[in-house]
């Protein structure tokens, strides 16, 4: 019997990987909670406010996009628009080819994963090197990130040391400090040799056009000091209305993502370098990417576009902790991904329709979301959508409810079923060919059937 792919992935996941993911997520989640409640009188109020600001932006997105574009241009940046992944890749390629550039250093941006940028550029003879340590390791392993913020949460030091040795970065050494120093030494010369630096954007202030990029490692900072051309890839939803709103979002982002008050580097970039500054990009390009975000905006799940990619929902999710990021078969995993990935898939929704089912709807994700996205409600809406689309991946393993609904709306039949169910107390349950019952019985005892007992007790009490 074909079951749910995510459940099957979980069953095959090695215990040490699950343990690494569990420990990494639980630790960050607990520190995040401690920090927020220590430092703010009412963190939940901040989350709701941030959610309202983001919802306002989404519902006025055309205004804010044109405002941001005007500001960026006024500060000397060039603005491009990419309706699809192909257009976004093509825009990057054209910018590089216009400069005769063959080497790019890139900072971490999930949009670049979405559009498949690095493999695309490599096919066109361009070196597109990841500089975030975790993404660098993912790249040399030809792997995929398994967490929004901690891409190699599923890898241990021994695996990394083997990869480094294989890539010629030194004889096997699994000391984390040595690994980091080797990456530092290798990558700093790559920055100096590169022509173009590509980053994402955590926020874009529509008021000033400022692009905000936050990192701990300093990789985006280095690419903006060493190279002469800066390309920003950013989803159209990443706007905030005013600079002052950054004061709220920056207070929430790092605390939610890594349990820090601020990441080490918070960069506010509003154009190419000053003429008086010798280092840095003379050209800045901002590519606004749609890639079906407009489709999500038109749906009844548009709140998901508030997401600021902090990963707090992944860190608290008990399902994510059991299955790990790769189980979601998508760029975006966890609760965020369970909603966003099927939606971004557009016409291919059915291929990802099982993702929203991989949840017990516990609601922990919404409780930690810094922009108060009603994730459980969105998961439910997508389950309804999956059912109506007859998506077979979504249906696998879920008992059909049509007959149940008739039974539960026909009191006479219901009472008969209560009486008849007593047979379950005597039958060998594992042999009954009802898939849902077998799935239950395989792992858990079944309580004694007492159908009708309470009703009889209630009736008897009323007798004089």
């Amino acid at each position: 019997m074909a079951g749910q792919p995510i459940d099957q992935f979980a069953a095959r996941l090695p215990a040490d990987k699950r343990a690494a993911v569990y420990l990494g997520t639980k630790t960050t989640h607990e520190k995040r909670t401690q920090l927020l409640f220590d430092q703010f009188a009412d963190p939940d109020r901040l989350r709701r406010l941030a959610g309202e600001i983001k919802q306002h932006v989404l519902e006025n997105l055309d205004t804010y996009l044109t405002q941001a574009e005007a500001q960026l241009k006024a500060h000397g940046a060039q603005v491009h628009w990419a309706a699809t992944a192909e257009e976004a890749c093509g825009a990057v390629l054209r910018i590089m080819q216009a400069r005769g550039a063959t080497k790019m250093v890139k900072a971490k941006t999930m949009v670049s994963e979405e559009i498949g940028l690095a493999p695309f550029l490599e096919r066109h003879g361009i070196e597109a090197l990841e500089t975030d340590l975790g993404e660098f390791i993912v790249q040399i392993d030809r792997d995929h990130p398994s967490h929004l913020v901690r891409p190699i949460i599923h890898k241990n030091r021994r695996e990394i040391a083997q990869s480094f040795e294989r890539e010629g970065l030194g004889a096997y050494n699994d000391d984390p400090e040595t690994i980091t120093r080797r990456a530092r030494q290798y990558l700093r010369h790559k920055y100096m040799a590169a022509n173009v630096g590509l980053t994402g954007a955590n926020f874009v202030s529509a008021e000033s056009g400022r692009i905000v990029v936050v990192t701990n490692e300093g990789n985006s900072r280095f690419s903006l000091a060493a190279t002469k051309c800066h390309i920003v890839l950013v989803g159209i939803e990443k706007l905030v209305p005013r600079d002052r709103d950054l004061g709220l979002f920056l207070n929430l982002l790092a605390r939610s993502a890594t349990a820090q008050a601020l990441t080490v580097y918070t960069e506010f970039i509003s154009g190419p370098k000053l003429p008086s500054q010798p280092d840095g990009p003379e050209e800045m390009h901002v590519i606004f990417v749609d890639n079906n975000r407009t489709g999500v905006l038109a749906s009844d799940c548009r709140e998901i576009l508030r997401c600021i990619r902090c990963g707090a929902c992944l860190n608290v999710c008990p399902v994510y902790r059991q299955v790990s990021g790769h189980a979601y078969r998508s760029v975006y995993p966890g609760p965020l991904g369970a909603v966003l990935s099927p939606l971004l898939a557009g016409g291919h929704f059915a291929e990802k329709a099982d993702l929203p089912k991989a949840s017990s709807l516990c609601g922990a994700c919404n409780e930690v979301c810094p922009v108060d996205i009603p994730l459980p409600d969105l998961l439910l809406r997508l389950r309804d959508k999956g059912k109506r689309a007859h998506a077979s991946l979504a249906a696998a393993g879920t008992p059909p409810m049509g007959a149940w609904a008739i039974l539960a709306s026909t009191p006479g039949a219901w009472k008969l079923a209560l009486a008849a169910g007593r047979i379950l107390n005597v039958l060998p349950l594992g042999l009954i060919p009802i898939p849902a019952l077998r799935a239950w019985v395989g792992k858990r005892a079944v309580p004694a059937w007492r159908g009708g007992e309470f009703r009889k007790w209630m009736r008897d009490r009323r007798k004089p």
């Binding site: 109020r45 500060h75 628009w81 207070n251 080490v264 970039i269 407009t294």
Partner: protein, 205 residues
């Protein structure tokens, strides 16, 4: 490509057209993000220095202290903003080689870089850098040690004040301690692409 612009914007408008009304922009006061337990310290440097240490940064109050620290570690070759060097050079022993031009073909020669900060944030121990005040972006970033010179009156109390005063500069960077990563098994390692030692040097007028 301007077709794509029109296509995207018209899709946005079409997506939003059915909404009966649009969510309003809520007003909010910076006091909402004030941190609990903040002391109204008379000396902003004292609070800044305490918070800088909490993020493994290094506050110093004299050039002599700085020179001694560098010498003790054997870091004698560095870069300094030419406008700053005249006021600092006296305290540096003759054995030091301090260049006031940064040669990007020899980035590994520079063990330290000294540039001027644009400001600081006391509540987080953050240094603020900008294109205008940073003589060389690489000088502040590539060496293992970065020293940012700071005056007391440049220090903002909190994040909201610093946001309100964001300068009209294309590259403003908030630096909160030395660069770091926890990508390898969640173990914190300092000194990744940016400096491994982040110093703030108080230079009173």
């Amino acid at each position: 490509m301007s077709d794509s612009r029109e296509q995207i914007l018209s899709r946005v408008r079409a997506a939003l057209a059915p909404l009966p009304r649009r969510a309003p922009l809520p007003d909010w006061e910076p006091a909402l993000v004030a941190l609990r337990g903040q002391r109204a310290d008379a000396d902003p440097w004292a609070l800044f220095a305490e918070r800088l240490k909490a993020v493994n940064g290094t506050p110093l109050t004299s050039v002599a202290e700085l020179a001694a620290l560098l010498e003790a570690e054997g870091w004698r070759h560095g870069y300094c903003d030419p406008q700053l060097w005249p006021s600092l050079r006296e305290a540096f022993p003759a054995s030091f080689i301090v260049e006031t031009e940064f040669d990007r073909t020899r980035i590994d020669d520079y063990q330290f870089g000294i540039t001027a900060a644009t400001g600081a944030i006391a509540e987080t121990g953050t240094l603020i850098l900008s294109d205008r005040d940073t003589s060389r972006r690489l000088g502040a970033l590539a060496p293992w040690v970065h020293i940012a010179t700071l005056r007391r009156e440049q220090i903002f109390a909190d994040l909201s004040a610093a946001v309100a005063a964001l300068p009209a500069d294309p590259n403003v960077i908030w630096v909160t301690g030395p660069s770091k990563t926890a990508d390898v098994e969640g173990i914190l390692i300092e000194g990744v692409h940016g400096p491994g030692l982040q110093i703030a040097l108080l230079v009173d007028r």
